[in-house]
């Protein structure tokens, strides 16, 4: 925290080196966050850029207190920037991204899995890919709920939809993710059997 404080003070003093240090320290994690929301690297880098500019402009507003996390504050700015970006992109599309999912017919368990469920061991890149493959509406709700720990009420306010819509989007996102994980698991099994034979 003390290192952060020093960095913030330097940034306030318009120290370009401090800005660069801040960027180097936090940009990778924040780019990962942006990537989860945007679904592609180009947009994610745009959002990261805009978000970092906002952070630099508003860094004076960050109150260094006990328990206040600078990273958490930056993440909130980045999430808001990503949501604004998605809104801009979705302006020509429907208000609520409720898409009929026809390929879910095989799953009737609404994405529910037992506590003993086994998930395949896949790389972070693959998992990121699975999340990015989700439709934007599902992806946004899933990200907000799972990674940012928002409640459905807060998500509904952020996305201008009802709580029930948020719940249904999350449920549908889970179904899709479960299906993708199952596919990955079966592919892995097939590869193992093939390797054995």
């Amino acid at each position: 925290m003390q290192v952060e404080e020093k960095l913030i003070k330097k940034v306030l003093n318009r120290d370009v080196n401090a800005m660069e240090a801040l960027y180097n320290q936090y940009a990778p994690a924040l780019l990962s966050l942006c990537f989860r929301y945007c679904g592609n690297r180009e947009d994610a880098e745009d959002v990261l850029h805009d978000g970092f500019i906002k952070i630099m402009r508003n860094v004076a507003n960050f109150k260094v207190r006990k328990g206040s996390s600078f990273e958490g504050w930056m993440k909130r700015i980045m999430v808001n920037t990503a949501l604004n970006h998605l809104r801009d992109r979705a302006k020509e599309k429907k208000f609520l991204d409720i898409e009929p999912i026809q390929d879910l017919l095989e799953i009737n368990d609404e994405g529910e899995v037992g506590p003993d469920a086994v998930f395949p061991d896949v790389s972070q890149e693959k998992i990121m890919e699975i999340i990015c493959d989700l439709p934007p509406g599902y992806r946004t709700v899933f990200n907000l709920y799972v990674f940012e720990n928002y409640l459905h009420k807060e998500i509904a306010e952020l996305l201008c939809c009802s709580e029930n819509t948020s719940k249904s989007q999350l449920s549908k996102a889970r179904i899709l993710l479960r299906k993708k994980l199952n596919q990955l698991a079966s592919e892995k099994k097939t590869i193992k059997i093939y390797e054995k034979t």
Binding site: V11, R14, V16, M19, E20, Y23, A27, P28, A29, L31, S32, F35, R36, R41, E45, L48, H49, F52, I53, M56, R57, N58, V59, A60, N61, K93, K94, F95, L96, I98, E99, P100, Q102, L105, G111, V113, G114, P115, A117, F119, V122, Q124, I127, M128, I131, Y145, V146, F147, N149, L151, C160, C161, S162, N164, T165, S168, R174, L177, R178, L181
Partner: protein, 448 residues
């Protein structure tokens, strides 16, 4: 509030806990190039609020200063006001005493009339007026510098003597008007009154009366028109606090301290109503068999079948509910009838109470978001979860109005007010409440 932890959520959360992506060098360079100088950022809304507050403070201070520091009524005639050249008859012309405090003469040079103020001689005397009659029989009032004149009452006595010689105050002149060429030929200090008042005083007061500004100001009743804008903050609505923009034109009849104001205006606000959509999920489609035809195959020795299929959609029998928030922009026509009483009623400033009802009629409700797209789901029913806006609404408002005259007929008004809605802004429903609001009316007024 602790959320239930779903295994899928935990799996993804854990898997991406330490996930990092290194930004490209180009992105980093772009950031370092554009990295702005850090400073306290004030968003536009806050800036606007501070600007509004500052403007109000400035207007209020200016008003108070104006009222406190402005001198009493000026008696001077506005610049450019001149005595008009109208034919003059001798019987109407009178000589003014040189000691008269009123502006004593007007000088005409090259066709232009110039106002002159009384001048004092070295001995403290005012210039006296003579009214010699020219050879052409034209009435000329001469203002000549006479430093050798006796001081004090002697001056007036001297001029009175002259007057007395004529037999009365009125100079007997032939019925002939003075013409411009004739005026030009006169001495530079010669003042020619070409009007036909009984004296200069009535002439000046007549001039003053004919000034439209002072006429309006001196009138007991006044008519004025105004253009107003009122930002309004509405409370006690289902959607939380709402911001409403009101704009319009109004006419006001003012009689003494009392006034009546009415007009038309538009009230524009955004709102939403939530709807519940009951639907059956689309499950997919299958190739349904419509008919089969059989044909005997001579070559193969058995029946050949032809299947005629068509695509059949299948929906779930379970009814599901989806919720949609319809964002709308509501435009109301407002007709106010505001009665007023001014506690302070001065020429340049007034402060008073304004109370009255306002009728609002819904003109337009425009949906801002796209229509709900059910995809292939089958819509069973659509219900309003929250009620839509009401068509007609009555409000009563009360406020303190401060008016400040800026320039001649132009003025500004500021009126902080509170408004109570007699009926809810929503259609009748069990959950509706009666809202109230606060607002600041800012208006630009022109007095007729």
């Amino acid at each position: 509030m602790k959320k239930p932890d779903h295994p899928i959520d935990s799996y993804f959360r854990e898997a991406l806990k330490e996930h990092r992506i290194t930004p490209s060098q180009a992105a980093k360079e772009a950031f370092l190039k554009e990295a702005p100088l850090p400073g306290k950022h004030v968003n536009n809304r806050r800036k606007g609020f501070f600007f509004l507050l500052l403007s109000l403070l400035t207007v209020t201070c200016a008003g108070i200063l104006w009222v406190v520091l402005s001198p009493a009524e000026h008696n001077t005639m506005p610049a450019g006001n001149s005595i008009s050249a109208t034919p003059l008859t001798a019987s109407d012309t009178k000589i003014v005493s040189a000691n008269h405090p009123e502006p004593s003469s007007s000088k005409k040079t090259e066709g232009k009339t110039e106002k002159s103020t009384p001048r004092e001689s070295k001995t403290g005397q005012m210039f006296s007026f003579k009214a010699p009659v020219s050879e052409q029989g034209k009435a000329i009032l001469t203002m000549a510098a006479e430093p050798e004149l006796p001081s004090g009452d002697d001056a007036s006595t001297a001029s009175e003597k002259e007057v007395a010689e004529t037999g009365s105050n009125a100079i007997s002149l032939p019925d002939q008007s003075i013409t411009a060429p004739a005026l030009q030929s006169q001495n530079a200090d010669t003042a020619i009154f070409q009007k036909k008042p009984d004296s200069i005083l009535p002439l000046l007061s007549e001039k003053k009366k004919s000034d439209p500004e002072s006429t309006i100001r001196n009138r007991k009743w006044q008519l004025s028109a105004s253009v107003y804008y009122t930002p309004e903050w509405l409370f006690n609505t289902l959607e939380g606090d709402k911001f409403v923009n009101n704009v319009g034109i109004e006419g006001r009849f003012h009689f003494g301290a009392y006034s009546v104001r009415t007009g038309v205006g538009l009230s524009i606000t955004r709102g939403s109503n939530e709807i519940a959509i009951a639907y059956n999920d689309y499950l997919g489609s299958y190739q349904g068999l419509d008919s089969i035809s059989f044909r005997w195959s001579e070559e193969q020795g058995y029946l050949l079948s032809n299947y005629y299929m068509s695509n059949k959609d299948v929906w779930d029998s379970l009814m599901k509910l989806d919720h949609l928030k319809n964002e709308k922009r509501y435009t109301y026509l407002q007709i106010p009838l505001i009665l007023g009483y001014d506690f302070i009623h001065k020429e340049n400033f007034s402060l008073g109470l304004r109370v009255g009802p306002t009728l609002s009629v819904l003109l337009q409700s425009k949906q801002m978001n796209e229509n709900y797209d059910p995809g292939k789901n089958k819509i069973i029913r659509v219900n309003n979860v929250t009620p839509d806006r009401i068509q007609t609404n009555w409000q009563v408002s009360g406020g303190i109005n401060a008016r400040l005259r800026l320039y001649k007929r132009l003025g500004v008004e500021v009126e902080p007010n509170v408004r109570y809605y007699f009926n809810s802004v929503y259609e009748p429903s069990d959950i509706t409440k009666k809202p109230w609001s606060v607002g600041i009316r800012a208006a630009l007024t022109i007095t007729f």
